[in-house]
Symmetry: C3
Subunit: 304 residues, 3 copies
């Protein structure tokens, strides 16, 4: 086992057996500028506390895995330059070389497993990129969901991805995809999509039982809870579709490729929606944090 | 560990250390109309008994995993409406929510592992769907074979699938594909195909030894035994190819897509062959059951 | 656990706790004609000894896994006809049926794990074949790297493969790809490619620490160390590209497909480079053996 540095709050929650919700840190280092990133991160942590659980923001800082960040650590991470985005492939190397890295969905799931945390709230998972039939560009998040026992609450996968192919890969890999409170698979900034979710649950206790049953059956993976963005914060799919299409065609025209595509698209969508995409993103993360806190508490009841 | 309800016959076989063969239940709920489905299921169970082993038909009934069905449970399942088809992704949710589900190949393998059963007979496994290079539609059965230690006896993969791509995925995932008694990979309703099978074995004891060696090496997956349909029951590949092609082109013309394609194709092939496809299907399942019973007994000798 | 036959040298190294480097055997049976194959294999073993570690060439001989070959066994294997190339899918069957097989990268990793060996030197790993977007032809080596805890030192993947797609699959599967001493991903016969490697390390001790950290985190897979061919032995990428393109277009014109493509391409590249491709191949394998010996010794220091 590697060394883990727990925040004082998470350490106390662990010894008291309280419900804990994992949070990722790329939203801090790569999602928004300072100081908004730190303000939003602190707000999401506070949402989890208000909903009755304890937040554990994950990061690797100078080679040490941190589970829960003290306020000064969050401030420092929010202002740090050139922090790596780490996933399954590079997380051990980052730790071994004393590096600092913000955790993606895959790396946060790994950190949560190491810390004994079963529920994780994020914005959207990675998935199959548009054009993956020729590029083979598929996020490691999907394989992580197949093998690491963490329930991930997200507003679906980012709508700039190929959502039908993302659902197919999740099915092939045996990952439960549970829409919360509706039948369709949500599309990040939009509550609805044309895609039917494979499973639907309306109750955090039910989601917790499904998680516990999966573990009791010896199945190694987690669950994706696809939680639609609140109606008052969403950008309707029909409004967003032409925006995504325009951003994508600009990327194609300018020859943007590989790892540069996602940041380019997100930045253009921000501009083309006059910032509404970011407001929506913050609203959906907070909404996911609240649901994750409820699931974590239900799971805590089952496993204590 | 979850609760398992064993049939009295399977319970006795377990305590006596007798050979057991797992059977799936989607053939009952989604393969044929009542009462033919129950008659065929009972006949296949009887084939296994005659061949010296004990059948264990798998199903989730009102949230409880059943390993082996009593005759009245088989009758009830055969007449039930709206039973879910469950795979790795939704099996724990079905159990956690008290649902009823028939097990696909992947779910039957999981059930067999939980019950300590190593051999499973079915008709054909799922595989790579035609057009998967653009749809990414690949059955979870292939990944299950890579990770769950069960030898699956099938007449290959259904010939409406993309068989060359199915073999490629199995190779990539490290799954042994063993043609029984011939060199070519069988094509479900047809004994032969143009594809060479990666491995050939002519003897159930050899297949059992390969299974045991795999476990002894700590490799997590199973084996696919591709057992050709008996010659007198087969539809020759050259007769079937135009039928499959016609059914496929009708599906395309009518815009049938996604999960609706397989039932549509199977139904049209049934009609276009005047029912011979179903007769062949029953013959091959029974043939697989008999071979599975022999393999299970050989494996039993090795591991007792 | 299966029976393993250790060579006297490897047996001694194990009891003394010395560093051991695994070697594959398909280079002996399928890489070069006799006696050059045996001479090169002996030379590579000697390179490892000079660099301070002990070589363990893997092979299955008459159903027994050999970890380290005695000189007469190496001679016999080098002259044997019709030896199988075994990978994850067929290795247990080869052992169970008393067969003889040379180990690919995947099978060598499995053998190394069984023998408690953590570092392995080879020429190049398998990867995504050109045209895999329609053939789905992807080497099992990539999945092995995702699940078996062995650090593989190779000169990248063979340049006749689709290298960008190979890197994508490795990223999706969470495999660390570490270029040694440079930023770009090496291209087998050429030290440089246009592709940036995901990670770079300049020090065997660092690579060993990353390996050990991966294990300490409970992540199941290994690492790919992409070690560029020595400058004086390489064929520059711009010289090689037209050669590969010509060989590929000849293969297409002659309808060479499936498993016949790689041997055809390697043979034509050998002819078109007047044998320089083989000289380069030998130089890079020896270079990888020396680096693997250093990594194995560093890892030994960490884990003793
Ligand atoms: Mn990617
Ligand atoms: Mn599917
Ligand atoms: Mn291949």
């Amino acid at each position: 086992m590697i060394d883990i540095q727990y925040s004082s709050e998470v350490q106390a929650a662990k010894s008291e057996g309280r419900a804990i919700v994992a949070l990722e840190s790329t939203i801090i280092t790569h999602g928004m500028p300072y100081p908004q990133n730190v303000e939003v991160a602190a707000q999401v942590e506070q949402d989890i506390r208000k909903a009755g659980a304890v937040p554990a923001t994950m990061a690797v800082i100078e080679g040490v895995l941190h589970v829960g960040l003290e306020p000064d650590q969050l401030q420092a991470l929010g202002q740090a330059k050139g922090v790596a985005k780490i996933s399954r492939a590079d997380m051990p190397a980052c730790i071994a070389t004393g590096g600092t890295g913000a955790t993606t969905v895959a790396a946060t799931m790994i950190a949560a497993r190491l810390a004994g945390i079963s529920v994780f709230a994020t914005g959207g998972i990675g998935g199959v990129h548009k054009g993956a039939e020729t590029t083979f560009d598929i996020s490691a998040d999907l394989m992580e969901l197949a093998q690491t026992p963490v329930t991930v609450v997200a507003a679906g996968a980012k709508a700039i991805l190929d959502l039908p192919k993302t659902l197919e890969v999740l099915e092939t890999q045996g990952v439960p995809v549970i829409a919360y409170g509706q039948d369709s698979f949500p599309a990040f900034w939009s509550a609805q999509s044309d895609l039917k979710a494979p499973l639907r649950m309306d109750d955090p206790a039910q989601i917790a039982r499904a998680h516990a049953t999966r573990q009791a059956m010896g199945l190694p993976g987690g669950q994706l809870v696809a939680n639609p963005i609140p109606a008052d914060a969403q950008i309707a799919a029909e409004d967003l579709a032409p925006v995504i299409a325009q951003a994508q065609s600009e990327a194609d025209a300018q020859g943007i490729a590989g790892k540069d595509v996602t940041p380019f698209l997100l930045s253009r969508i921000f501009e083309l929606t006059d910032g509404r995409s970011l407001t929506a993103n913050i609203a959906l993360v907070r909404n996911n944090a609240r649901l994750a806190a409820k699931i974590a508490q239900e799971l805590n009841k089952l496993t204590r």
